[in-house]
């Protein structure tokens, strides 16, 4: 198999591997109301998913500098807590990490 063929084959394989988990819930969960337990389950997922996405990933987000990464996350947290909004929080975090890397 040529290099080009195998890369495109891989792209198609990965397309299926990423699309199917996203697609199947949309096909099976249409308009039927769910029982109370499952309604709560899906209602809580945003919070648990965000918690699990932030840690431990964030402290490995800056190569070899987990303390600086943690400072960046704390800065974003303070900014967001006082209604800084998403964009400002991101800019502040990147700024804090950039400064941290310079010193």
């Amino acid at each position: 198999m040529s290099h080009t063929m195998s890369v495109y084959g891989l792209i198609i394989g990965m397309l299926l591997a990423t699309y199917l988990p996203r697609l199947i819930p949309f096909l099976i969960l249409s308009d039927r109301p769910l029982p109370e337990y499952w309604r709560k389950f899906l209602k809580f997922i945003p919070f648990t998913a965000l918690g699990a996405l932030i840690f431990p990933g964030s402290i490995q987000a800056v190569e070899g500098e987990s303390f600086i990464a943690l400072l960046g996350i704390i800065a974003a947290g303070v900014c967001a807590w006082f209604n800084g909004g998403i964009i400002l929080s991101v800019v502040v975090a990147v700024g804090v990490v950039g400064l941290g890397l310079c010193f």
Partner: protein
């Protein structure tokens, strides 16, 4: 027919800004790994999954087999099953075809924004949100491939925190409104960190196990009116 929601585009702007530098890093890395521009665009346009694309470059480099990469991608992205289920359950009745498109645009970030938005969701809001995120990912990929090496190294390294800062900024307003949101998030963060540390499960499963475990226990103990 309802108009395409401007709110959807606006909600996508922070994601665009967060994706752009990460996608640039992907474009640059793909180029240095000998992937062509067309193939690199193919990855970002069709796979549209950040961590998996980086992982694929890594595995290609180390000579991994086709199935190994595809299965690793499936494991890494299975968490989107939970996220899609959350968004799908909150969507208004609508066109079946539009659901296929909305499903393609579900990522950690579009999910986070959509799932914390108020009220019912529809594709007039979701598609512009996802389109904005998608264009950030694609344009960043192309820019990274073409001129990524020109970025100063400090900037390249510090951009990595951006997406996490976005998650924090999406989570905290919910926590301010309701203490239980914070309890659930901290519990999931601790369980995920613990699972990642003991390394019993394959790496993509840690986050899925943490989300399911904490959500299942939470849904058992927390009463609907409290949360």
């Amino acid at each position: 027919m309802k108009r395409v929601s401007k709110a959807g585009f606006m909600a996508g702007v922070p994601i665009f800004l967060g994706y752009f530098p990460v996608a640039m890093a992907f474009g640059l890395l793909a180029k240095t790994n000998g992937i062509t521009l067309e193939e690199t665009i193919g990855f970002s346009a069709l796979v549209f999954a950040g961590a998996s694309q980086f992982m694929a470059l890594n595995l290609i480099q180390s000579g991994a087999a086709f199935m190994e990469i595809v299965i690793a991608t499936l494991l890494l992205n299975f968490r989107h099953f939970l996220m899609s289920a959350t968004v799908a359950s909150r969507m208004e009745t609508g066109s079946k075809w539009m659901r296929l498109l909305v499903a393609f645009g579900i990522t950690d970030e579009t999910f986070a924004v959509a799932a914390t938005a108020e009220g019912k969701l529809n594709y007039h809001y979701l598609l512009p949100l996802e389109f904005t995120a998608y264009s950030g990912w694609l344009s960043g990929t192309v820019c990274g491939f073409i001129m990524g090496a020109a970025l100063p190294e400090v900037l390249q390294k510090s951009m990595g925190i951006g997406l996490y800062a976005m998650f924090v900024a999406i989570l905290l307003p919910g926590v301010r409104k309701n203490m239980w949101a914070g309890v659930l998030a901290v519990a999931a963060a601790l369980v995920h960190t613990g699972l990642a540390w003991v390394k019993v499960l394959p790496s993509g499963w840690n986050i899925i196990a943490a989300i399911i475990l904490v959500t299942a226990v939470g849904a058992w103990f927390i009463k609907e009116q409290e949360a």
